[in-house]
């Protein structure tokens, strides 16, 4: 399987990438690590006429300190999140989730921003970043806007990123208790997507996010509200699937996924919270 014919431009700056996207609109597709996009190109589910490669733009890669939290460049690869001392200190949940993505080869090439821009509900790092309360910065010809990560995901593989916009930054706010976290992933083969997964970040206001329990990565708001109201981990976890419309596929029915969500959220809460 090979992709359909397409043109390729390597952007040498964010401005260059945005100019190319402005010129070509939704005929263009942004290429970073390519580990979501190249499979779609090969299957010809995606047929852009132009790839805008942002993989060499230095300012888009790497993790740095930002106001007690983290500024994460979108083209930072999973493996580099996994091994970053700064991520381990400030957001070990993100390092744990990054270490669960695919397999080592995938983690060497795939990027965190690519995962967010792809908008797959089965993304491990998207759930971790939701639980961490991350925000994202989108830049286009008209300027830059910042939105909570939860507002980025609109539907299945659909995000709020306009065709002429580029995801340029991911911010993780400081956490009062970064060590209170858990990431649970249930699958049948090591390298597979999660059938269901769950990310929990603790602190005064715990946040819980789910992998593959709907058309987008999502927060388990009913669980969070129950915890805020003083419910035990066990009782709060019973609400894990409330409002969720999980997919049905060969790996499991929707009901099976609801069951998994309750079990995984309970395990994660019991591990994460003191």
């Amino acid at each position: 399987m090979i992709p359909a014919e397409l043109a390729y431009e390597r952007a040498d700056s964010v401005e260059h990438a945005i100019a190319l996207l402005g010129e070509h609109g939704d005929e263009a597709k942004v290429l970073a690590g390519g580990h979501s996009l190249v499979p779609l190109l090969r299957l010809r589910f995606a047929r852009p006429s132009l790839l805008v490669d942002i993989g060499r733009i230095r300012e888009l890669a790497g993790v740095s300190e930002e106001g007690g939290g983290l500024a994460i460049g979108p083209t930072t690869r999973y493996a580099d999140l996994e091994s970053s001392a700064l991520v381990a200190e400030r957001a070990p949940l993100l390092a744990a989730a990054a270490g669960e993505v695919g397999d080592p080869q995938v983690r060497h090439r795939g990027t965190v921003g690519g995962a967010l821009a792809h908008g797959d509900p089965a993304s491990d790092v998207a759930a971790a970043l939701l639980a961490l309360g991350a925000t994202v910065a989108l830049r286009g010809a008209g300027g830059e806007r910042r939105l909570p990560l939860s507002d980025l995901f609109l539907g299945f593989l659909e995000t709020a990123i306009a065709p002429d916009e580029l995801l340029v930054g991911i911010s993780v706010p400081p956490s009062a208790a970064p060590a209170e976290f858990a990431f649970e992933k249930f699958n049948r083969r090591a390298q597979d997507w999660a059938i269901v997964g769950c990310a929990v970040s603790g602190g005064p206001v715990p946040r819980v996010a789910l992998v593959n329990m709907g058309t987008t990565p999502l927060r388990a708001l009913a669980v969070e509200e129950a915890l805020a109201g003083g419910a035990s981990a066990r009782d709060a976890a019973e609400l894990a699937a409330r409002g969720a419309e999980p997919p049905e596929d060969l790996n499991g029915t929707a009901e099976y996924r609801r069951h998994l969500a309750r079990v995984l959220v309970r395990r994660a809460l019991e591990r994460a919270l003191p």
Binding site: M1, I2, P3, A4, E5, L6, A7, Y8, R10, L31, G34, H35, V38, P39, L41, R42, L51, D53, G55, A79, G102, D103, P104, Q105, V106, H108, R109, A190, Q191
Partner: protein
């Protein structure tokens, strides 16, 4: 598009269509057929090569993405015909049967060993999660990698050879 990169220590160049996958560039343009196409869906790892020293599935990388990079294939492990220590260990420990997964399995193992972490059986199995073997199973493969990992504590790191 014109490409210029280093493959197994030699600078190579060529013109490719942007849609060309790295595995097809290696096999078709450069004749390096040691790298295999297995599942063609980034699952099986038969196409694993090193890009700038780290394992990658060359069926999921466009050749244009590695312009200017350093790529190592299975051929690059034994440039003078003398087997790399991971290859030797695979032979020693009966770590292959049909051999189709072997080049990718060995490249994934070399990448894992280059990380320099201490490896036990669990870490080796986890480190090879991206590679599937459908005939001989994993016992011999894991034993081969563990044997090399043990040797690195007392001898030169495999990175020196890769």
């Amino acid at each position: 598009m014109e490409l210029r990169l280093t493959v197994n220590g030699e600078v190579v160049s060529g013109a490719v269509e942007p849609r060309t996958l790295l595995v097809h560039f290696l096999r078709g343009h450069l004749g390096l057929t040691g790298t295999k196409v297995g599942c063609d869906t980034s699952s099986c790892g038969a196409c694993t090569v090193l890009v700038d020293g780290r394992s990658a599935k060359s069926c999921t990388v466009l050749a244009v993405q590695v312009d200017g990079c350093e790529v190592t294939t299975i051929e690059g492990l034994a440039p003078d015909g003398r087997l790399h220590r991971v290859q030797e260990a695979f032979r020693e420990h009966h770590a292959l049967q049909c051999g189709y997964c072997t080049p990718g399995m060995i490249m994934a193992a070399v990448s894992l060993l280059r990380e320099g972490r201490e490896l036990d059986e669990g870490a080796v199995r986890r480190g090879l999660e991206g590679n599937l073997c459908r005939c001989t199973g994993y016992r011999g493969i894991v034993e081969a990698v563990l044997a090399v990992a043990g040797a690195t504590a007392h001898g030169p790191a495999p990175a020196d050879q890769a």
